[in-house]
Symmetry: C2
Subunit: 144 residues, 2 copies
């Protein structure tokens, strides 16, 4: 596994251990991780703290994102996809897109390259979580 | 002026007083404000803390947003527009859309009602700020 996706998966697992939603993300520049994070809806009572958003928040103020790649264990929702477009992040590497994700066309139509790894490990992270916490998952995707 | 937009403007002015970017937002449910906030890029070194995002964060976990209206002093960027779509917020009231904003088609195509007030007060807030702090503004819209 790519070390950057592995770091995103580590973040997702950390989130699950904290009682949260197991989605993690890493912002990469060259060989460096400039920000990493995971979903903190439960931990911080924060509905905007998806994994991607937490990684970008933790990266702090950046002059540009044009030289970065965002890794995320799950296909971005529209909030995170809109953020990727707004921040002009040129590429997103996605762990899996079978559990969730309707933003692929939006991202691609705005020139964002999307690489989907179809990682069984990422699928299993979500399968186990959704089976254990269906209400929490539906809250996070606004389907209550 | 609508009391909810006035509250959003008050938030924007508070942000400017703090040395930040003067964009404010309020989440309304019925006659209540359930969350309010302003851009905190400078104050919190947080690039995702646009006014709308800060208001939603401050509102905390909500069971649904289908019965809410989001007020914002400036037309939402794609991050905030994606969030509105993801959260299924049915209506956005916008102070002004002449300084910034390319997300109108995206919002409308996802069924969001957008009311634009063309408020001279909101335009003047941004005009004064951009004249005083052009680099900070360009950082916030990722145009450095």
């Amino acid at each position: 596994m790519d070390i950057f996706m592995q770091a995103a998966i580590d973040e997702a697992r950390q989130g699950r251990r904290e009682g949260g939603i197991p989605i993690g993300s890493v912002l990469r520049r060259g060989n460096d991780i400039v920000g990493r994070g995971h979903n903190k809806r439960v931990q911080d009572l924060d509905p905007i703290a998806h994994g991607e958003m937490d990684a970008l928040r933790n990266a702090g103020r950046q002059r540009t994102y044009r030289d970065t790649v965002l890794y995320t264990t799950l296909m971005p929702c529209y909030m995170c996809a809109g953020t990727i477009v707004q921040f002009k992040i040129p590429k997103v590497v996605v762990g899996e897109a079978q559990t969730f994700g309707e933003s692929l066309d939006f991202l691609q139509s705005h020139g964002v390259e999307v690489e989907i790894l179809n990682s069984p490990e990422c699928v299993e992270l979500m399968r186990e979580f959704i089976e254990a916490e269906p209400t929490l998952w539906n809250e996070d995707i606004m389907e209550l």
